[in-house]
Protein backbone atom coordinates (compact mmCIF):
# COMPACT_ATOMS: atom_id res chain seq x y z
CA UNK A 1 0.00 0.00 0.00
CA UNK A 2 1.54 3.23 -1.13
CA UNK A 3 1.73 6.73 0.23
CA UNK A 4 -0.70 8.22 -2.23
CA UNK A 5 -3.93 9.91 -1.39
CA UNK A 6 -5.74 7.00 0.17
CA UNK A 7 -9.46 7.20 -0.36
CA UNK A 8 -10.59 3.64 -0.86
CA UNK A 9 -7.84 2.26 1.34
CA UNK A 10 -8.06 5.03 3.93
CA UNK A 11 -8.68 2.62 6.81
CA UNK A 12 -7.21 -0.56 5.41
CA UNK A 13 -4.30 -0.70 7.82
CA UNK A 14 -6.50 -0.51 10.92
CA UNK A 15 -6.38 -3.84 12.69
CA UNK A 16 -10.10 -3.93 13.52
CA UNK A 17 -11.42 -2.50 10.26
CA UNK A 18 -12.94 -5.85 9.32
CA UNK A 19 -15.17 -5.83 12.40
CA UNK A 20 -18.46 -3.99 12.53
CA UNK A 21 -17.38 -1.98 15.59
CA UNK A 22 -14.10 -1.01 13.94
CA UNK A 23 -15.80 -0.07 10.68
CA UNK A 24 -18.42 2.06 12.42
CA UNK A 25 -15.85 3.77 14.61
CA UNK A 26 -14.45 5.27 11.40
CA UNK A 27 -17.74 6.48 10.04
CA UNK A 28 -18.89 3.21 8.52
CA UNK A 29 -22.56 2.88 7.53
CA UNK A 30 -23.13 6.61 7.88
CA UNK A 31 -23.20 7.01 4.10
CA UNK A 32 -25.91 4.40 3.51
CA UNK A 33 -28.04 5.93 6.26
CA UNK A 34 -27.89 9.23 4.38
CA UNK A 35 -28.41 7.63 0.96
CA UNK A 36 -31.54 5.84 2.21
CA UNK A 37 -33.06 9.27 2.69
CA UNK A 38 -32.33 10.25 -0.90
CA UNK A 39 -34.51 9.71 -3.94
CA UNK A 40 -33.17 6.56 -5.64
CA UNK A 41 -32.91 8.36 -8.98
CA UNK A 42 -30.97 11.14 -7.30
CA UNK A 43 -28.52 8.55 -5.99
CA UNK A 44 -27.99 7.25 -9.53
CA UNK A 45 -27.46 10.82 -10.73
CA UNK A 46 -24.78 11.30 -8.08
CA UNK A 47 -22.89 8.22 -9.23
CA UNK A 48 -23.17 9.40 -12.84
CA UNK A 49 -21.88 12.84 -11.85
CA UNK A 50 -18.90 11.33 -10.02
CA UNK A 51 -17.68 9.82 -13.29
CA UNK A 52 -17.04 6.50 -11.55
CA UNK A 53 -16.32 3.73 -14.04
CA UNK A 54 -16.22 -0.02 -13.54
CA UNK A 55 -13.07 -1.20 -11.78
CA UNK A 56 -13.34 -4.84 -12.80
CA UNK A 57 -12.01 -4.50 -16.32
CA UNK A 58 -14.44 -2.99 -18.81
CA UNK A 59 -14.53 0.52 -17.35
CA UNK A 60 -18.21 1.10 -18.08
CA UNK A 61 -19.73 4.16 -16.33
CA UNK A 62 -21.31 2.81 -13.14
CA UNK A 63 -24.17 5.29 -12.83
CA UNK A 64 -25.16 4.71 -16.46
CA UNK A 65 -25.25 0.97 -15.83
CA UNK A 66 -27.54 1.48 -12.86
CA UNK A 67 -29.82 3.77 -14.86
CA UNK A 68 -30.57 0.94 -17.32
CA UNK A 69 -32.53 -0.91 -14.65
CA UNK A 70 -36.20 -0.43 -15.49
CA UNK A 71 -38.21 1.46 -12.91
CA UNK A 72 -41.35 -0.14 -11.53
CA UNK A 73 -40.44 -3.50 -12.98
CA UNK A 74 -42.87 -6.17 -11.87
CA UNK A 75 -39.94 -8.56 -11.61
CA UNK A 76 -37.54 -8.51 -8.67
CA UNK A 77 -34.34 -6.53 -9.20
CA UNK A 78 -31.03 -8.12 -8.22
CA UNK A 79 -27.63 -6.69 -7.40
CA UNK A 80 -24.61 -8.93 -7.78
CA UNK A 81 -21.13 -8.15 -6.56
CA UNK A 82 -18.51 -9.68 -8.80
CA UNK A 83 -15.82 -10.87 -6.37
CA UNK A 84 -14.68 -13.64 -8.68
CA UNK A 85 -11.24 -12.12 -8.96
CA UNK A 86 -9.22 -14.34 -11.27
CA UNK A 87 -7.43 -12.22 -13.86
CA UNK A 88 -3.72 -13.10 -13.61
CA UNK A 89 -1.94 -10.43 -11.59
CA UNK A 90 -5.11 -9.18 -9.89
CA UNK A 91 -5.50 -9.38 -6.12
CA UNK A 92 -6.92 -5.99 -5.13
CA UNK A 93 -10.47 -7.15 -4.37
CA UNK A 94 -9.05 -9.76 -2.05
CA UNK A 95 -7.50 -6.97 0.02
CA UNK A 96 -10.84 -5.14 0.29
CA UNK A 97 -12.79 -8.31 1.07
CA UNK A 98 -10.36 -9.38 3.78
CA UNK A 99 -9.63 -6.08 5.44
CA UNK A 100 -12.68 -3.94 4.74
CA UNK A 101 -15.61 -6.30 4.09
CA UNK A 102 -18.18 -3.84 5.44
CA UNK A 103 -17.09 -1.27 2.85
CA UNK A 104 -17.95 -3.83 0.14
CA UNK A 105 -21.33 -4.42 1.79
CA UNK A 106 -22.13 -0.74 2.28
CA UNK A 107 -21.35 -0.04 -1.38
CA UNK A 108 -23.72 -2.81 -2.36
CA UNK A 109 -26.47 -1.39 -0.20
CA UNK A 110 -26.09 1.98 -1.92
CA UNK A 111 -26.54 0.28 -5.27
CA UNK A 112 -29.46 -1.75 -3.93
CA UNK A 113 -31.26 1.40 -2.82
CA UNK A 114 -30.52 3.23 -6.07
CA UNK A 115 -31.98 0.46 -8.22
CA UNK A 116 -34.56 -0.57 -5.58
CA UNK A 117 -33.32 -4.11 -5.18
CA UNK A 118 -34.43 -6.29 -2.27
CA UNK A 119 -31.96 -9.07 -2.86
CA UNK A 120 -28.32 -9.30 -3.70
CA UNK A 121 -25.52 -11.81 -4.05
CA UNK A 122 -21.80 -11.62 -3.56
CA UNK A 123 -20.19 -14.09 -5.93
CA UNK A 124 -16.73 -14.84 -4.55
CA UNK A 125 -14.19 -17.13 -6.14
CA UNK A 126 -14.11 -20.49 -4.39
CA UNK A 127 -10.42 -20.36 -3.53
CA UNK A 128 -10.83 -17.23 -1.42
CA UNK A 129 -11.77 -18.95 1.85
CA UNK A 130 -10.21 -16.51 4.28
CA UNK A 131 -11.86 -13.46 2.64
CA UNK A 132 -15.04 -15.54 2.43
CA UNK A 133 -15.04 -15.99 6.19
CA UNK A 134 -14.44 -12.28 6.73
CA UNK A 135 -17.40 -11.31 4.53
CA UNK A 136 -19.49 -14.09 6.02
CA UNK A 137 -18.90 -12.73 9.50
CA UNK A 138 -19.57 -9.18 8.33
CA UNK A 139 -22.92 -10.24 6.85
CA UNK A 140 -23.91 -12.07 10.05
CA UNK A 141 -23.06 -8.96 12.08
CA UNK A 142 -25.09 -6.78 9.72
CA UNK A 143 -28.13 -9.01 10.04
CA UNK A 144 -27.80 -8.91 13.82
CA UNK A 145 -27.48 -5.13 13.81
CA UNK A 146 -30.49 -4.66 11.54
CA UNK A 147 -28.36 -3.38 8.65
CA UNK A 148 -29.53 -6.25 6.49
CA UNK A 149 -32.88 -7.98 6.43
CA UNK A 150 -36.25 -6.33 6.87
CA UNK A 151 -36.51 -2.61 7.49
CA UNK A 152 -32.79 -1.90 7.38
CA UNK A 153 -31.56 0.97 9.54
CA UNK A 154 -35.20 1.47 10.44
CA UNK A 155 -35.76 2.98 6.99
CA UNK A 156 -38.63 0.78 5.91
CA UNK A 157 -36.45 -0.58 3.11
CA UNK A 158 -35.67 -4.30 3.16
CA UNK A 159 -32.65 -5.95 1.66
CA UNK A 160 -31.26 -9.47 1.87
CA UNK A 161 -27.71 -10.36 0.90
CA UNK A 162 -26.30 -13.82 0.19
CA UNK A 163 -22.67 -14.79 -0.08
CA UNK A 164 -22.11 -17.34 -2.83
CA UNK A 165 -18.96 -19.37 -3.27
CA UNK A 166 -17.74 -20.12 -6.79
CA UNK A 167 -16.09 -23.41 -7.60
CA UNK A 168 -13.04 -22.66 -9.70
CA UNK A 169 -13.64 -21.17 -13.15
CA UNK A 170 -11.92 -18.02 -14.41
CA UNK A 171 -14.70 -17.44 -16.92
CA UNK A 172 -17.21 -16.79 -14.12
CA UNK A 173 -15.66 -13.34 -13.80
CA UNK A 174 -17.45 -12.55 -17.10
CA UNK A 175 -20.74 -11.12 -15.85
CA UNK A 176 -23.15 -13.28 -17.82
CA UNK A 177 -21.14 -16.43 -17.05
CA UNK A 178 -21.27 -15.41 -13.42
CA UNK A 179 -25.05 -15.14 -13.60
CA UNK A 180 -25.31 -18.55 -15.27
CA UNK A 181 -23.13 -19.98 -12.53
CA UNK A 182 -25.22 -18.34 -9.83
CA UNK A 183 -28.29 -19.91 -11.37
CA UNK A 184 -26.70 -23.31 -10.90
CA UNK A 185 -25.42 -23.84 -14.41
CA UNK A 186 -22.03 -24.18 -16.04
CA UNK A 187 -20.40 -20.77 -16.10
CA UNK A 188 -20.67 -20.10 -19.81
CA UNK A 189 -21.25 -16.57 -21.09
CA UNK A 190 -24.64 -15.71 -22.52
CA UNK A 191 -25.33 -14.69 -26.06
CA UNK A 192 -25.80 -10.94 -26.45
CA UNK A 193 -28.15 -9.06 -26.81
CA UNK A 194 -29.39 -8.24 -24.30
CA UNK A 195 -26.11 -6.41 -23.79
CA UNK A 196 -26.84 -5.52 -20.22
CA UNK A 197 -28.14 -7.78 -17.45
CA UNK A 198 -30.04 -4.66 -16.35
CA UNK A 199 -32.80 -5.86 -18.65
CA UNK A 200 -32.51 -9.63 -18.32
CA UNK A 201 -30.00 -10.82 -15.78
CA UNK A 202 -30.24 -13.23 -12.88
CA UNK A 203 -33.25 -15.58 -13.34
CA UNK A 204 -34.22 -13.37 -16.28
CA UNK A 205 -34.79 -10.39 -13.97
CA UNK A 206 -33.23 -6.90 -14.03
CA UNK A 207 -29.76 -7.20 -12.52
CA UNK A 208 -26.79 -4.97 -11.83
CA UNK A 209 -23.41 -6.69 -11.74
CA UNK A 210 -20.57 -4.59 -10.33
CA UNK A 211 -17.03 -5.38 -9.32
CA UNK A 212 -16.13 -5.33 -5.61
CA UNK A 213 -13.87 -2.28 -5.94
CA UNK A 214 -16.50 -0.36 -7.91
CA UNK A 215 -19.09 -0.88 -5.19
CA UNK A 216 -16.61 0.02 -2.46
CA UNK A 217 -15.77 3.21 -4.38
CA UNK A 218 -19.47 4.15 -4.38
CA UNK A 219 -19.24 4.67 -0.61
CA UNK A 220 -16.47 7.20 -1.19
CA UNK A 221 -18.43 8.93 -3.94
CA UNK A 222 -21.18 9.77 -1.43
CA UNK A 223 -18.76 10.40 1.40
CA UNK A 224 -16.81 13.00 -0.56
CA UNK A 225 -19.70 14.12 -2.73
CA UNK A 226 -19.88 13.42 -6.45
CA UNK A 227 -18.29 16.72 -7.42
CA UNK A 228 -15.33 16.31 -5.12
CA UNK A 229 -14.85 12.74 -6.32
CA UNK A 230 -14.92 13.91 -9.93
CA UNK A 231 -12.11 16.35 -9.11
CA UNK A 232 -9.77 13.43 -8.57
CA UNK A 233 -8.10 11.88 -11.59
CA UNK A 234 -8.21 13.03 -15.20
CA UNK A 235 -10.90 14.49 -17.43
CA UNK A 236 -12.35 11.10 -18.31
CA UNK A 237 -10.86 8.80 -15.70
CA UNK A 238 -12.21 9.94 -12.37
CA UNK A 239 -11.22 8.93 -8.91
CA UNK A 240 -8.65 6.54 -7.60
CA UNK A 241 -7.86 3.01 -8.67
CA UNK A 242 -6.33 0.05 -6.93
CA UNK A 243 -3.34 -1.34 -8.75
CA UNK A 244 -2.15 -4.87 -7.99
CA UNK A 245 1.56 -4.80 -8.69
CA UNK A 246 3.35 -8.11 -9.18
CA UNK A 247 6.32 -9.69 -10.88
CA UNK A 248 9.92 -8.52 -10.93
CA UNK A 249 9.63 -5.51 -8.63
CA UNK A 250 11.02 -4.75 -5.21
CA UNK A 251 7.70 -4.05 -3.51
CA UNK A 252 4.78 -6.03 -4.89
CA UNK A 253 1.40 -5.25 -3.40
CA UNK A 254 -1.86 -3.35 -3.75
CA UNK A 255 -1.50 0.40 -4.29
CA UNK A 256 -4.12 3.08 -4.56
CA UNK A 257 -3.30 5.70 -7.16
CA UNK A 258 -5.06 8.74 -8.51
CA UNK A 259 -6.07 7.87 -12.06
CA UNK A 260 -3.64 9.44 -14.51
CA UNK A 261 -0.53 8.60 -12.49
CA UNK A 262 2.53 8.01 -14.70
CA UNK A 263 3.23 4.31 -15.18
CA UNK A 264 7.03 4.52 -15.24
CA UNK A 265 7.04 6.59 -12.08
CA UNK A 266 4.68 4.12 -10.44
CA UNK A 267 7.08 1.25 -11.13
CA UNK A 268 10.15 3.22 -10.08
CA UNK A 269 8.76 4.82 -6.95
CA UNK A 270 5.76 2.93 -5.58
CA UNK A 271 6.96 -0.52 -6.59
CA UNK A 272 10.54 0.26 -5.57
CA UNK A 273 11.83 -0.30 -9.08
CA UNK A 274 12.80 -3.49 -10.87
CA UNK A 275 14.35 -6.06 -8.55
CA UNK A 276 18.04 -6.96 -8.34
CA UNK A 277 18.89 -3.61 -9.96
CA UNK A 278 17.94 -5.02 -13.35
CA UNK A 279 16.44 -3.22 -16.30
CA UNK A 280 12.77 -3.30 -17.19
CA UNK A 281 11.89 -5.39 -20.22
CA UNK A 282 8.11 -5.47 -20.44
CA UNK A 283 4.87 -5.08 -18.52
CA UNK A 284 1.42 -6.55 -18.76
CA UNK A 285 -1.13 -3.98 -17.66
CA UNK A 286 -4.75 -4.74 -16.87
CA UNK A 287 -4.10 -8.44 -16.44
CA UNK A 288 -2.96 -10.90 -19.07
CA UNK A 289 -5.76 -10.16 -21.49
CA UNK A 290 -4.17 -7.26 -23.32
CA UNK A 291 -1.02 -6.96 -25.44
CA UNK A 292 2.25 -6.76 -23.51
CA UNK A 293 4.01 -3.38 -23.51
CA UNK A 294 7.77 -3.10 -24.08
CA UNK A 295 9.81 -0.91 -21.74
CA UNK A 296 10.39 1.57 -24.59
CA UNK A 297 6.64 2.02 -25.04
CA UNK A 298 6.00 3.25 -21.51
CA UNK A 299 7.24 6.85 -21.78
CA UNK A 300 4.33 9.21 -21.25
CA UNK A 301 1.86 6.42 -20.51
CA UNK A 302 -0.37 7.03 -17.51
CA UNK A 303 -2.43 4.70 -15.39
CA UNK A 304 -5.88 5.63 -16.63
CA UNK A 305 -8.42 4.26 -19.08
CA UNK A 306 -7.61 6.56 -22.02
CA UNK A 307 -3.83 6.69 -21.81
CA UNK A 308 -3.45 2.92 -21.61
CA UNK A 309 -5.91 2.40 -24.42
CA UNK A 310 -3.96 4.82 -26.59
CA UNK A 311 -0.83 2.84 -25.79
CA UNK A 312 -2.51 -0.30 -27.11
CA UNK A 313 -3.20 -1.80 -23.71
CA UNK A 314 -5.91 -1.21 -21.12
CA UNK A 315 -6.36 -0.34 -17.48
CA UNK A 316 -8.47 -3.47 -17.13
CA UNK A 317 -8.62 -4.72 -13.57
CA UNK A 318 -5.60 -2.64 -12.59
CA UNK A 319 -3.14 -5.51 -12.62
CA UNK A 320 0.49 -4.80 -13.37
CA UNK A 321 2.88 -7.66 -14.09
CA UNK A 322 6.45 -6.47 -14.43
CA UNK A 323 9.12 -8.45 -16.30
CA UNK A 324 12.84 -7.73 -16.03
CA UNK A 325 15.51 -7.97 -18.73
CA UNK A 326 16.21 -11.65 -18.02
CA UNK A 327 12.64 -12.72 -18.81
CA UNK A 328 12.24 -15.17 -21.69
CA UNK A 329 9.26 -13.81 -23.57
CA UNK A 330 8.55 -17.16 -25.16
CA UNK A 331 8.30 -18.71 -21.69
CA UNK A 332 5.96 -15.89 -20.66
CA UNK A 333 3.85 -16.40 -23.78
CA UNK A 334 3.69 -20.16 -23.14
CA UNK A 335 2.56 -19.52 -19.60
CA UNK A 336 -0.23 -17.15 -20.56
CA UNK A 337 -1.32 -19.32 -23.51
CA UNK A 338 -1.55 -22.34 -21.21
CA UNK A 339 -3.67 -20.29 -18.81
CA UNK A 340 -6.17 -19.48 -21.56
CA UNK A 341 -6.21 -23.00 -22.94
CA UNK A 342 -7.02 -24.24 -19.43
CA UNK A 343 -9.65 -21.61 -18.70
CA UNK A 344 -11.58 -21.55 -21.97
CA UNK A 345 -15.10 -22.54 -20.99
CA UNK A 346 -15.47 -24.62 -24.15
CA UNK A 347 -18.65 -23.04 -25.42
CA UNK A 348 -17.40 -21.51 -28.68
CA UNK A 349 -15.36 -23.67 -31.02
CA UNK A 350 -12.88 -20.97 -32.15
CA UNK A 351 -11.86 -20.31 -28.55
CA UNK A 352 -12.01 -23.87 -27.23
CA UNK A 353 -9.92 -25.24 -30.09
CA UNK A 354 -7.92 -22.12 -30.86
CA UNK A 355 -6.69 -21.48 -27.33
CA UNK A 356 -5.40 -25.05 -27.25
CA UNK A 357 -3.63 -24.69 -30.58
CA UNK A 358 -2.00 -21.42 -29.60
CA UNK A 359 -0.65 -23.02 -26.41
CA UNK A 360 0.58 -26.08 -28.32
CA UNK A 361 2.41 -24.05 -30.93
CA UNK A 362 4.09 -21.88 -28.28
CA UNK A 363 5.08 -25.02 -26.39
CA UNK A 364 6.51 -26.54 -29.52
CA UNK A 365 8.60 -23.41 -30.12
CA UNK A 366 9.81 -23.54 -26.52
CA UNK A 367 10.74 -27.19 -26.87
CA UNK A 368 12.94 -26.35 -29.87
CA UNK A 369 10.59 -28.08 -32.28
CA UNK A 370 9.24 -24.95 -33.89
CA UNK A 371 9.04 -24.91 -37.65
CA UNK A 372 9.08 -22.14 -40.21
CA UNK A 373 5.58 -20.73 -40.42
CA UNK A 374 4.71 -21.27 -36.76
CA UNK A 375 4.56 -17.58 -35.94
CA UNK A 376 2.32 -16.96 -38.93
CA UNK A 377 0.26 -19.94 -37.81
CA UNK A 378 -0.27 -18.39 -34.38
CA UNK A 379 -1.34 -15.17 -36.07
CA UNK A 380 -3.75 -17.08 -38.25
CA UNK A 381 -5.28 -19.04 -35.39
CA UNK A 382 -5.63 -15.81 -33.38
CA UNK A 383 -7.34 -14.20 -36.34
CA UNK A 384 -9.84 -17.01 -36.36
CA UNK A 385 -10.58 -16.67 -32.64
CA UNK A 386 -10.82 -12.90 -32.19
CA UNK A 387 -14.28 -11.52 -32.82
CA UNK A 388 -15.74 -14.97 -33.42
CA UNK A 389 -16.77 -15.85 -29.89
CA UNK A 390 -19.65 -15.04 -27.57
CA UNK A 391 -17.53 -13.26 -24.96
CA UNK A 392 -14.31 -11.27 -24.81
CA UNK A 393 -12.27 -14.24 -23.60
CA UNK A 394 -11.54 -15.21 -27.20
CA UNK A 395 -10.27 -11.70 -27.93
CA UNK A 396 -8.06 -11.93 -24.86
CA UNK A 397 -6.49 -15.18 -26.08
CA UNK A 398 -5.64 -13.50 -29.36
CA UNK A 399 -4.55 -10.12 -28.00
CA UNK A 400 -2.21 -11.70 -25.47
CA UNK A 401 -0.58 -14.09 -27.94
CA UNK A 402 -0.27 -11.53 -30.73
CA UNK A 403 1.13 -9.03 -28.24
CA UNK A 404 4.06 -11.26 -27.44
CA UNK A 405 4.93 -12.26 -31.00
CA UNK A 406 4.51 -8.79 -32.43
CA UNK A 407 6.38 -6.94 -29.69
CA UNK A 408 9.27 -9.39 -29.45
CA UNK A 409 9.42 -10.98 -32.91
CA UNK A 410 13.16 -11.66 -32.82
CA UNK A 411 12.83 -13.77 -29.67
CA UNK A 412 10.27 -16.00 -31.32
CA UNK A 413 11.99 -16.24 -34.71
CA UNK A 414 15.21 -17.24 -32.99
CA UNK A 415 13.50 -20.35 -31.63
CA UNK A 416 12.56 -21.71 -35.02
CA UNK A 417 14.95 -24.37 -36.15
CA UNK A 418 13.89 -24.22 -39.77
CA UNK A 419 13.61 -27.97 -39.59
CA UNK A 420 10.15 -28.17 -41.06
CA UNK A 421 9.15 -27.43 -44.58
CA UNK A 422 8.10 -23.89 -45.26
CA UNK A 423 4.50 -23.54 -46.19
CA UNK A 424 3.79 -20.20 -47.83
CA UNK A 425 0.23 -20.60 -46.80
CA UNK A 426 1.07 -22.92 -43.95
CA UNK A 427 -1.15 -21.05 -41.58
CA UNK A 428 -4.15 -22.70 -43.17
CA UNK A 429 -2.76 -26.18 -42.73
CA UNK A 430 -3.44 -27.26 -39.20
CA UNK A 431 -3.48 -30.96 -40.02
CA UNK A 432 0.28 -31.20 -39.59
CA UNK A 433 -0.07 -30.17 -35.99
CA UNK A 434 -1.60 -33.47 -35.05
CA UNK A 435 0.37 -35.21 -32.40
CA UNK A 436 2.17 -32.08 -31.23
Amino acid sequence: MGNHRQILLANIKEADQHTLAGYESRGGYSVIRRVLGMEPLKAIEEVKKSGLRGRGGAGFPTGVKWSYVPRNSRKPVYVVQNADEGEPGTFKDRLLLERDPHLCIEGMLICAWAVQSRRSFIYMRGEYCFPYMRVNQALADCYRAGYLGDNIFGSGFSHHMTLHRGAGAYICGEETALLESLEGKKGQPRLKPPFFPALAGLYGCPTVVNNTETLAACVRVFELGAEAYAQIGTAKSKGTKLISAAGHINRPGVYEIELGYPLERFIAEECGGVWHGRKLKAVLVGGSSFPVLRADELAGVNLDYESLQAAGSALGSGALIVMDETTDMLAAACNIARFYAHESCGQCTPCREGAGWVAKIFDRLAAGRGVVGDIELIESVCGQIAGHTICAFGDAVALAAQGFIRKFPEEFKARIKGAGKHLPNGAEDVSRLKGV
Binding site: F91, G166, E183, K186, A245, G247, T327
Partner: protein, 183 residues
Protein backbone atom coordinates in the same frame (compact mmCIF):
# COMPACT_ATOMS: atom_id res chain seq x y z
CA UNK B 1 -30.04 -42.11 -0.13
CA UNK B 2 -29.31 -39.89 2.81
CA UNK B 3 -26.20 -38.07 4.00
CA UNK B 4 -25.61 -37.25 7.65
CA UNK B 5 -28.24 -35.23 9.46
CA UNK B 6 -25.99 -32.16 9.62
CA UNK B 7 -25.28 -32.33 5.89
CA UNK B 8 -28.98 -32.58 5.09
CA UNK B 9 -29.75 -29.68 7.43
CA UNK B 10 -26.95 -27.55 5.99
CA UNK B 11 -28.30 -27.97 2.46
CA UNK B 12 -31.85 -27.21 3.56
CA UNK B 13 -30.61 -23.95 5.11
CA UNK B 14 -28.58 -23.01 2.04
CA UNK B 15 -31.53 -23.56 -0.27
CA UNK B 16 -33.48 -20.89 1.62
CA UNK B 17 -30.91 -18.31 0.56
CA UNK B 18 -31.76 -18.59 -3.13
CA UNK B 19 -34.92 -17.75 -5.06
CA UNK B 20 -34.45 -20.93 -7.14
CA UNK B 21 -33.52 -24.37 -5.91
CA UNK B 22 -31.15 -24.93 -8.80
CA UNK B 23 -28.79 -22.25 -7.45
CA UNK B 24 -28.04 -24.62 -4.58
CA UNK B 25 -26.48 -27.24 -6.87
CA UNK B 26 -22.93 -25.94 -6.39
CA UNK B 27 -23.25 -25.69 -2.59
CA UNK B 28 -24.80 -29.18 -2.62
CA UNK B 29 -21.83 -30.49 -4.60
CA UNK B 30 -19.50 -28.99 -1.99
CA UNK B 31 -21.48 -30.68 0.78
CA UNK B 32 -21.49 -34.07 -0.92
CA UNK B 33 -17.78 -33.82 -1.67
CA UNK B 34 -17.05 -32.94 1.94
CA UNK B 35 -19.15 -35.76 3.28
CA UNK B 36 -18.10 -38.53 0.88
CA UNK B 37 -14.51 -37.47 0.20
CA UNK B 38 -15.09 -36.91 -3.50
CA UNK B 39 -17.88 -36.70 -6.03
CA UNK B 40 -18.53 -40.37 -6.71
CA UNK B 41 -21.74 -41.73 -8.27
CA UNK B 42 -23.45 -41.76 -4.91
CA UNK B 43 -22.61 -38.11 -4.30
CA UNK B 44 -23.87 -37.00 -7.71
CA UNK B 45 -27.09 -38.94 -7.24
CA UNK B 46 -27.67 -37.30 -3.85
CA UNK B 47 -27.18 -33.81 -5.31
CA UNK B 48 -29.57 -34.52 -8.18
CA UNK B 49 -32.19 -35.87 -5.81
CA UNK B 50 -31.99 -33.01 -3.35
CA UNK B 51 -31.95 -30.18 -5.88
CA UNK B 52 -34.39 -31.60 -8.38
CA UNK B 53 -31.86 -31.22 -11.14
CA UNK B 54 -31.20 -33.82 -13.84
CA UNK B 55 -28.33 -36.19 -12.96
CA UNK B 56 -26.67 -35.35 -16.28
CA UNK B 57 -26.69 -31.67 -15.38
CA UNK B 58 -25.14 -32.39 -11.99
CA UNK B 59 -22.40 -34.43 -13.65
CA UNK B 60 -21.81 -31.60 -16.11
CA UNK B 61 -21.28 -29.10 -13.31
CA UNK B 62 -19.03 -31.45 -11.36
CA UNK B 63 -16.75 -31.75 -14.37
CA UNK B 64 -16.89 -28.07 -15.36
CA UNK B 65 -15.69 -26.56 -12.08
CA UNK B 66 -12.11 -27.27 -11.10
CA UNK B 67 -12.76 -27.42 -7.37
CA UNK B 68 -14.79 -30.62 -7.70
CA UNK B 69 -13.01 -33.94 -7.74
CA UNK B 70 -14.16 -37.36 -8.82
CA UNK B 71 -11.32 -39.03 -6.91
CA UNK B 72 -10.13 -38.56 -3.37
CA UNK B 73 -7.24 -36.19 -2.75
CA UNK B 74 -4.60 -36.51 -0.06
CA UNK B 75 -5.46 -35.32 3.42
CA UNK B 76 -3.42 -32.27 2.47
CA UNK B 77 -3.80 -31.27 -1.15
CA UNK B 78 -1.12 -28.79 -2.15
CA UNK B 79 -2.01 -26.52 -5.05
CA UNK B 80 0.94 -24.67 -6.53
CA UNK B 81 0.10 -21.60 -8.57
CA UNK B 82 2.22 -21.57 -11.70
CA UNK B 83 0.62 -18.67 -13.61
CA UNK B 84 2.91 -15.87 -14.83
CA UNK B 85 3.16 -13.65 -11.71
CA UNK B 86 4.08 -16.67 -9.58
CA UNK B 87 6.28 -18.11 -12.33
CA UNK B 88 8.24 -14.84 -12.46
CA UNK B 89 9.00 -15.14 -8.76
CA UNK B 90 10.08 -18.75 -8.54
CA UNK B 91 7.02 -21.03 -8.72
CA UNK B 92 9.15 -23.53 -10.65
CA UNK B 93 11.40 -24.01 -7.61
CA UNK B 94 8.33 -24.76 -5.49
CA UNK B 95 7.10 -27.30 -8.04
CA UNK B 96 10.54 -28.95 -8.19
CA UNK B 97 10.72 -29.10 -4.43
CA UNK B 98 7.32 -30.78 -4.18
CA UNK B 99 8.15 -33.29 -6.92
CA UNK B 100 11.37 -34.21 -5.12
CA UNK B 101 9.81 -34.26 -1.69
CA UNK B 102 6.87 -36.52 -2.50
CA UNK B 103 7.76 -38.09 -5.84
CA UNK B 104 4.20 -37.52 -6.98
CA UNK B 105 2.72 -36.53 -10.28
CA UNK B 106 0.03 -33.83 -10.26
CA UNK B 107 -3.20 -35.40 -9.03
CA UNK B 108 -1.48 -38.44 -7.53
CA UNK B 109 -1.96 -39.28 -3.84
CA UNK B 110 0.88 -40.49 -1.60
CA UNK B 111 0.73 -44.11 -0.44
CA UNK B 112 -0.19 -43.09 3.11
CA UNK B 113 -3.04 -40.91 1.84
CA UNK B 114 -1.52 -37.83 3.43
CA UNK B 115 -0.42 -35.80 0.42
CA UNK B 116 -1.39 -34.88 -3.09
CA UNK B 117 -0.36 -31.97 -5.23
CA UNK B 118 -1.66 -30.06 -8.22
CA UNK B 119 -0.38 -27.31 -10.47
CA UNK B 120 -3.09 -24.70 -10.78
CA UNK B 121 -3.78 -21.34 -12.41
CA UNK B 122 -3.78 -17.90 -10.76
CA UNK B 123 -4.87 -18.00 -7.12
CA UNK B 124 -5.07 -14.21 -6.75
CA UNK B 125 -2.01 -13.96 -4.56
CA UNK B 126 0.42 -12.49 -7.08
CA UNK B 127 1.76 -9.82 -4.73
CA UNK B 128 2.90 -12.47 -2.30
CA UNK B 129 4.15 -14.93 -4.92
CA UNK B 130 5.02 -17.72 -5.10
CA UNK B 131 2.03 -19.18 -3.36
CA UNK B 132 0.51 -22.53 -2.48
CA UNK B 133 -2.99 -23.26 -1.40
CA UNK B 134 -3.08 -26.24 0.93
CA UNK B 135 -6.69 -27.37 1.22
CA UNK B 136 -8.38 -24.01 1.85
CA UNK B 137 -5.50 -22.06 3.37
CA UNK B 138 -3.01 -19.87 1.47
CA UNK B 139 0.73 -20.03 2.16
CA UNK B 140 2.43 -17.02 0.63
CA UNK B 141 5.89 -15.59 -0.13
CA UNK B 142 7.18 -19.13 -0.34
CA UNK B 143 10.65 -20.49 -0.79
CA UNK B 144 11.37 -24.23 -0.86
CA UNK B 145 12.83 -23.86 2.65
CA UNK B 146 9.74 -22.14 3.97
CA UNK B 147 7.48 -24.74 2.38
CA UNK B 148 9.60 -27.54 3.84
CA UNK B 149 8.97 -26.14 7.32
CA UNK B 150 5.25 -25.84 6.66
CA UNK B 151 5.07 -29.45 5.46
CA UNK B 152 7.03 -30.55 8.51
CA UNK B 153 4.59 -28.77 10.79
CA UNK B 154 1.58 -30.21 8.95
CA UNK B 155 3.05 -33.70 9.38
CA UNK B 156 3.45 -33.22 13.12
CA UNK B 157 0.55 -30.94 14.07
CA UNK B 158 -2.05 -32.19 11.57
CA UNK B 159 -4.14 -28.99 11.68
CA UNK B 160 -7.51 -28.59 9.98
CA UNK B 161 -6.92 -26.53 6.83
CA UNK B 162 -10.32 -27.02 5.23
CA UNK B 163 -13.38 -24.91 4.76
CA UNK B 164 -16.49 -26.85 5.73
CA UNK B 165 -19.64 -25.97 3.80
CA UNK B 166 -21.63 -28.05 6.27
CA UNK B 167 -20.37 -26.15 9.32
CA UNK B 168 -19.78 -22.92 7.37
CA UNK B 169 -16.41 -22.59 9.04
CA UNK B 170 -12.76 -22.56 8.10
CA UNK B 171 -10.25 -24.85 9.83
CA UNK B 172 -7.98 -23.07 12.32
CA UNK B 173 -4.83 -23.73 10.34
CA UNK B 174 -1.30 -23.72 11.68
CA UNK B 175 -1.06 -22.09 15.07
CA UNK B 176 0.48 -18.59 14.93
CA UNK B 177 0.81 -18.76 11.16
CA UNK B 178 -0.59 -15.77 9.20
CA UNK B 179 -3.91 -16.47 7.45
CA UNK B 180 -3.04 -13.91 4.82
CA UNK B 181 0.10 -11.97 3.94
CA UNK B 182 -1.46 -9.64 1.38
CA UNK B 183 -0.22 -6.03 1.45
Amino acid sequence: MKLSERAETALAEIKKKYPAEKSAVVPALYIAQEELGCLNEEALAWVAERTGVQPAHVRELASFYSMFYSRRLGRYNIQVCRTLPCALRGAEKIVEYLRDRFGLKPGQVSADGMWSYEEVECLGSCGTAPVCRINDHYFENLTPQKLALIIERLTVEKPDLSYSTILDSLGVGLKDYPKSEIV
